[in-house]
């Protein structure tokens, strides 16, 4: 007799879970292809460049994994705080603080202590720095109910300012430079694959994602996190310390973002400059969203986002497309991923009513 549109949340189906991201790629590529035509580049060669830069060649694949490492660390952290009902928009700032502290420790001690010890100290500093930076927002939220989105955004801005200052002041490489930067870091995270520089950061990220999964679903702490996130009133009633859960899950989230900062400077760049902050912390929010705040889902989503990132970056070098164009394409794919995720998580169907 008629048709009606129904929209309602639905349980995860593994099938849709895999299909949705693929569909979003396909859609984004179609639109991106049209854009390339318009920009005067043959889409076929454009896309083969994209794939070379991300999946089909060995260096491309390594690049994808290097990027995925950062998404995995930050995305897992964000997933954990989301599960506790706290939205950590501050991964970017926590990552910057982690990178600064790791650089600082590395440069201060690399000539004094053994490389292994220096590395360990630098990574610990990155982790603690990120955790403490996030805890500022956590404490404000947990004890004074100050909105965490506002505070983390402010803290991001502040972290970036500190970064700008530190590479022009205390950590400046003397002499004329193209742009302000720190002195080089001589130590490095263990390298897994020398030609690309893929390093132990990936192992750390995978281990932490798997540990987080265990933490969330198989431990007492994870139980408290999930109860608090799904109904804070119930958590209080059950005798959980809600403020503590909020502060600690924020700290955990920040610690992982801080480690990402440490991995970036100690494993990939080996110096510090403003360019470490390119919004990966914000992209990681989408990573955790696509993964539905599931740490194992974050592993998959990170590799997907790493592919997009490195593929679109290579597009720029391989064709005459500009940096902005490849960034636009990257953004476009993220957008499609977001929209299809919605379709995957919500049942939107046309129902025939007899």
């Amino acid at each position: 007799m008629g048709y009606v549109i129904r929209i309602k949340p639905k349980p995860i189906q593994p099938f849709v879970f895999v299909l949705a991201p693929l569909a979003s790629f396909a859609l984004a590529f179609l639109v991106g292809g049209a854009l390339m035509l318009w920009a005067g580049v043959d889409p076929i060669s454009g896309y083969s460049a994209f794939l070379q830069g991300s999946l089909t060649t060995f260096p491309g694949l390594m690049q994808t994994l290097i990027q995925a490492t950062l998404f995995m660390l930050m995305g897992t952290g964000i997933a954990i705080s989301n599960r506790a009902g706290v939205l950590n928009v501050g991964a970017e700032g926590q990552y910057i603080i982690g990178a600064i502290l790791a650089t600082y420790i590395a440069i201060s001690y690399q000539q004094v202590l053994s490389p292994q010890l220096t590395l360990l100290l630098a990574m610990l500093a990155a982790m603690l720095g990120g955790a403490l930076w996030a805890m500022i927002a956590g404490v404000l939220k947990g004890f004074m109910n100050v909105n965490e989105v506002v505070t983390t955004v402010i803290l991001n801005w502040l972290a970036y300012r500190i970064l700008q200052w530190i590479i022009r002041g205390p950590l400046r490489l003397p002499g004329p430079q193209l742009y302000p930067m720190s002195p080089p870091i001589a130590i490095t995270l263990p390298v897994l694959e020398p030609s690309s520089g893929l390093n132990a950061g990936l192992i750390i990220a995978l281990a932490l994602a798997i540990f987080s999964y265990y933490l969330l679903f198989y431990t007492k702490a994870g139980f408290e996190i999930r109860v608090t996130g799904s109904n804070p009133e119930l958590a209080k009633y059950a005798g959980f310390n809600v403020s503590k859960v909020i502060v600690l899950s924020m700290a955990y989230s920040g610690a992982l973002a801080g480690i990402a900062g440490g991995v970036e400077v100690l494993g990939n760049l080996h110096y510090l400059f403003e360019g470490i902050s390119i919004g990966l912390g914000y992209t990681s929010i989408i990573v955790s969203l696509v993964a539905r705040d599931h740490p194992l889902g974050v592993i998959a989503a990170s590799i997907m986002f790493g592919t997009i990132y490195s593929g679109s970056s290579f597009l720029q070098t391989a064709t005459h497309l500009t940096y902005t164009f490849s960034k636009a394409l990257e953004g476009l794919i993220y957008l499609f991923v977001l929209v299809t995720t919605l379709f995957a998580f919500y049942e939107i169907k046309l129902v025939k009513v007899k």
Binding site: L215, R226, N231, K236
Partner: protein
């Protein structure tokens, strides 16, 4: 009145609705006549709410159709239902606390604009209320209202949308007898205006008082229909349960006669409410081992604040709380849980469950504190592993004992019917071995069999030395189970009575602050 000879407003034909693991409505057909009160009765999980949610457009039926005034309609959302004159007041309140009554009433209706004149709106709503003959001060904020007033606003909200059929899903479960009477007056007035009312309730006496026609559901089907004049309590009960297996409908309970030492003592307790007002004013009460102490009062007389203060959820302004002769006034909730205090909260969906978490985790909840891991470091870090098998086994035991109807233990709690959520909470709080149970509206929303079961369990527990503080708007329940009853009005103790020794009239007067016992009289009863 029978549905075959009446002016049919709504007709639902052959409705089928399936959820994973259950058929909530199994080929149900129902007619609603103009200006009648149609009661729907049935056990917890029988499918009453589902059927009405379909009429209100919250669910589409898998099969079947709806006719309004003889015309085929599709209710794909409540908007469609309201357009066709169907309104619904749910089991749980839906008002926005920080908005005024007037704003709450117009919220979501077509003529609510971003820019409006609050004064004018309030006047307009005042006029509307006078037309209807149902009044709640429109300038009050929703959080200032008592349960009875909130109920009225929910009804006004529906009526404002010019509906001709009003569905009330268990509207009386937390109302005191006085408020129930008010509600019935309203229902009769609406009936005179030609509005049809669907009334869902588990209380047979209420149904017999207000309904014109009664429909009984069991396991998703309609199993009987009666005019009020043909109905009686016994008949209805046997229709609901199937066999005539119900021994007695209003079970009588033998109270425990040997009470022990003082378990809980509350001394000159002052507690603030959500608005900063004094909600509990100088309350003094005690509960002995094996004793059931009732708290009677109109909803919103400070019962909730009192219970929350004893459980450590709300700070105490002045006074002391003693448990087993040790002061616990400042202890966090977790310590009180470990001491053996249980609490069945009154707003079950808000405080009692996480709708997104599976049933077994909802049941295990506080028992997590009693787990002692041998691995001290993991314990200290809070990452000691959950024992999923133990959790599942325990949950299965509670589900069986308290008859929680669910397809599986891993189903999320949000998929349970209202009464089954209540069974889950009651089971969880009574099964974890408490020494003291604070039971707020423990039988709200439960069907007759489950109500009797919970009451019997409370009495059995008292026999084993457990103390119970029983807070209920159901005066009959309080009087039949308790050794002593504290009557609250406006946060103050108006008196303490022994059931059977005080008249209902006196208790009624105390509940409305019209009578107060002297301190000597009260002390005499506490000393008994």
């Amino acid at each position: 009145m029978s549905s075959s000879s009446c002016d049919v407003v709504v007709e639902m034909r052959n409705i089928v609705k399936k959820f994973p693991g259950v058929v909530a409505n199994d080929n149900v057909s129902l007619k609603i006549c103009r200006g009648e009160v149609l009661a729907i009765l049935g056990e917890n999980g029988a499918g009453k709410t589902t059927l009405m949610n379909i009429l209100y457009g919250l669910y589409l039926p898998d099969e079947g159709s709806i006719y309004i005034n003889g015309k085929r309609v599709i209710h794909a959302s409540p908007k469609d239902a309201i357009k066709n004159g169907v309104g619904m007041v749910h089991q749980h309140f839906t008002l926005v606390d920080d908005l005024t009554v007037a704003e709450n009433i117009v919220l979501g209706a077509e003529d609510f604009k971003v820019y409006y004149n609050p004064g004018k709106l309030i006047e307009k709503i005042r006029e509307f209320m006078k037309d209807i003959g149902l009044y709640v001060e429109p300038s009050k904020k929703a959080y200032e209202l008592s349960a009875g007033e909130k109920q009225k606003v929910e009804i006004l909200k529906a009526l404002y949308r010019r509906i001709s059929v009003l569905i009330l899903d268990e509207p009386t479960s937390v109302l005191s007898p006085i408020e129930v009477n008010e509600l019935f007056k309203t229902i009769r007035r609406l009936k005179e205006k030609g509005i049809s009312i669907v009334f869902i309730s588990h209380k047979l006496d209420e149904v017999l008082e207000i309904a014109d026609r009664i429909v009984v559901m069991r396991a998703g089907k309609i199993v009987g229909e009666l005019a009020r004049k043909d109905a009686n309590v016994r008949l209805l009960a046997s229709m609901m349960i199937g066999a005539s297996g119900l021994s007695s409908i209003e079970e009588k309970f033998e109270k425990n006669t040997s009470t022990g030492r003082k378990l809980l003592e509350v001394i000159d307790l002052w507690v603030k409410g959500d608005r900063g007002e004094d909600a509990v004013k100088g309350v003094r009460l005690s509960v002995r081992e094996g004793e059931i102490v009732g708290v009677a009062g109109v909803a919103g007389s400070g019962q909730k604040e009192l219970a929350e203060a004893i459980y450590g959820l709300r700070p105490v302004k002045r006074g002391r709380i003693m448990f087993n002769e040790v002061e616990i006034t400042g202890l966090p909730t977790v310590e009180r849980i470990k001491l053996g205090i249980s609490y069945i909260p009154e707003e079950r969906v808000r405080y009692g469950v996480s709708l997104e978490l599976p049933i077994y985790e909802n049941i295990y909840l506080e028992k997590i504190h009693s787990e002692k891991s041998k691995r001290g470091l993991l314990e200290a870090l809070g990452v000691s592993p959950l024992k999923k098998r133990v959790m599942l086994e325990y949950a299965q035991h509670v589900v069986n004992k308290f008859g929680v109807k669910t397809p599986s233990l891993t189903t999320v709690a949000g998929k349970l019917s209202g009464g089954n959520i209540q069974r889950l909470i009651v089971g969880r709080e009574l099964e974890r071995g408490p020494k003291l149970v604070i039971a707020s509206e423990p039988t709200a929303g439960l069907d007759i069999a489950a109500t009797n079961f919970v009451r019997r369990t409370l009495v059995d527990m008292s026999r084993r030395g457990v103390g119970v503080l029983l807070i209920s708007s159901d005066l009959q329940e309080v009087l039949s189970l308790s050794h002593k009853v504290v009557v609250l009005c406006n946060g103050e103790v108006m008196g303490v009575v022994i059931p059977g020794e005080a008249s209902i009239e006196d208790i009624g007067l105390m509940m409305t602050c019209s009578k107060k016992m002297s301190i000597e009289e009260v002390e005499k009863i506490w000393a008994m």
